[in-house]
Symmetry: C2
Subunit: 175 residues, 2 copies
């Protein structure tokens, strides 16, 4: 899809297309549609980032809470969104050995107990070893710092999901 | 469910339970969980209302855009949420005659063209005649006034959905 097409979408089509660029938060796409037209995918990405930043703290925590655990219950019961399943698979989280799986479960539980939201990381930018390492590290963060860290990961995930949907003219058009 | 149970829910259980009290916006329940414990259902309802009011204008428009048309495409293709299907059925919107159905379609389209979001009304507080009347009336509103009107209807829908989930002690307990 190119930007001309993106900017011609009705709000219903826009939410169908971009409703999961922020995991399980179609209201984010529904909100930023108000700011169309977008010059390019970076402009749309920036609008989403600014919208998230404009939310009250509880709203940002809410966004993080809409994300599934990594290698967690939703993966096991096949309840992940298509995007999340692809990302967790690519990071190797569907093939954890028993030791890593137990460690991930234990750290995820500690993290949720400490912060009241799940550990979110852009799985496509990290492999399973890096994910486990960062999870253990981030458990030591202060809550406000960690909320900000989680939101920055939400934005990275969003960036890659947008790139999956929107064609970059430079890579598809002969200049 | 009573308030003791509500206040003991993890954020995951809370979102599973209250994730659709604002239509297709589980992030709202995920956000207000930060404000627990809630004294009673009115307190939870007020927290949701305050959260919605705290959103930027685009966020409020986004919430309205997550609602389906009344007697629209999602009803016809069986894609409504369970709550919305029940409410539209109760209001008689599944049994419109051809003339009313055509009028509803035409007015819904005019409304979306004018405001950039769908017509939202608490269907359980109105029958199909009242809904058609209000739709025609509200088409004449100014955009900012109409956005506020839509948000107030979102809150009424939320109030009734909360009442479906949370027991009111006065009606269940001998005083």
């Amino acid at each position: 899809m190119d930007m001309r097409q993106v900017n011609s979408l009705s709000y219903e089509e826009f939410v169908e297309t971009f409703g999961n660029v922020v995991e399980r938060c179609p209201v984010v796409a529904a909100a930023v549609w108000s700011g169309r037209p977008f010059a390019n995918s970076h402009d749309l990405e920036a609008s989403i980032g600014e919208f998230i930043d404009s939310l009250p703290v509880a709203g940002q925590e809410g966004i993080v809470r809409c994300h599934p655990d990594l290698a967690g219950r939703d993966l096991k019961r096949g309840a992940l969104t298509a995007e999340s399943r692809g990302e967790q698979t690519q990071a190797g989280l569907t093939l954890l050995d028993a030791g890593d799986a137990a460690r991930m479960n234990r750290l995820n539980a500690q993290y949720k107990e400490r912060f009241g939201f799940p550990f979110v990381i852009c799985a496509r930018m990290n492999n399973k070893e890096e994910i486990l390492l960062r999870l253990a590290e981030r458990l030591g963060n202060e809550p406000a710092q960690e909320r900000q860290c989680a939101i920055e990961e939400v934005k990275k995930i969003c960036q890659l999901r947008l790139q999956d949907i929107i064609q970059c003219p430079a890579t598809h058009t002969k200049l």
